[in-house]
Amino acid sequence: MTDAESHAEKGMAHQFEDLDQQHDADMLGIWVFLITEIMFFGGVFAAYAIYRWMYFSAFDGGSHILDIRLGAANTIVLLGSSLTMVLSVRAAQTGNRRSTVLFLIATMILGGIFLGVKGYEYHQKFVEHVVPGLDWAPEGKTLALLAPGGVQHAQIYFIFYFAMTGLHAIHMIIGMGLLLWLVLRARKDAFTPHYFAPVEVVGLYWHFVDIVWIFLFPLLYLIGGRY
C-alpha cells in the first residue's frame, strides 16, 4: 500500500496519523476558539455588571420596556434549534445523510425565526423611540416606566441591550452561513460515521451562541421583575 492510499480515508488531512487524532485536534481547536469567545462576550458582560450596579433602577426601568413573552418565546425557539443541531450531529454520526440535512435545515429555520422576532423587537424600539443616541424620545407609557430610574440613565441600559443582542445576532448570522455550508457539503455526501467533524464543530459553536442567549434573557428581560 502506498502512502497516499493509507491516507485515503475520507475527510482526513495528511498531517494526522488517523481520524481519531484528527478528531482530538478538531475538538481542541474549537474549544480554544470558544474560550476566546467567552472572553470576548465576557468583556461586555463585565461592563454590564458594573453599569447594572451603578444605575440599578434605570436598568430595571429599561427591562420593563422589553416584551417578556417575546424574549421567553425566542429562548424556547433557540433551545429548540440547539436540539435539532445536536440531532443533526447524531444523524451524521449514525450515517443518516437525509436526517442530517433535514435537521440542519430545521436548525436554520428556527434560527431564522429567532432573528425575525429579534428584528421585530428592534423595530419596536424605534417605534417607542428608545434607541440611545439615534432616537431617544420616550413618551407616554414608556416614559412613565423609565422615569423612576432616570430617563437619561436608561439610555445606558439600551446601549447594552443593542450591543449585547446585536453581537449575539451577528454570531447567529455567521452560524446560519455555516449551517448553509454544512447543508451543501452534506448533500454532496461529504460526511461519514467516521468523519463528521465539521457538523460537530459548527454544532459546538451554535450551542455556545445558545448559551450566550441563556444569559442575555434573564439579564436583559427579567432583571426588573414584573410584580
Binding site: L19, D20, H23, D24, M27, L28, W31, V32, L34, I35, I38, M39, G42, G43, F45, A46, A49, I50, W53, M54, I68, A72, T75, I76, L79, G80, S82, L83, M85, V86, L87, R90, Q93, T94, P193, H194, E200, G203, L204, H207, F208, D210, I211, I214, F215, F217, P218, L219, Y221, L222, I223, G225, R226, Y227
Partner: protein
Amino acid sequence: MSHPIVPQKTYILVFLCLIGLTILTTGVAFIDLGAFNTVAALVIAFAKMSLVILFFMGVRSSSGLVRIILIAGFFWFALLVAFTMTDYHTRTWTPVPQAWSSGAPPTHP
C-alpha cells in the same frame, strides 16, 4: 469515533428540562423575592448552561484536555468580573483628598 452515540431520548429529555427551566425563570420574574430574583435568574441560567455544555456539547464524554480548557476559560472570566467589581465597590471606601476630588469617579451607594 471516540464519542459514544447518545440515544435520541436523552437529547429530547434535556431539551424538555431546558424548556421547563425557561418557564420557571420567567415565572419567578413575576414573584417579588427582592434581591433573590437576580440570584434565582442567574442560578437557573447556570443550570441551563450546564445542561447544554454537558449533554448538547458532549463534555460529559469529552477528553480531560477539553475540560481543563473549559474550566480555565470560566476561571479567567470569574477573575475578570471579581477583580473589576472589587475595584468599583471599594473605590469609595477611602476618602478622596480634596485636591483630587474634581476628577473623582462617580460615587454610588
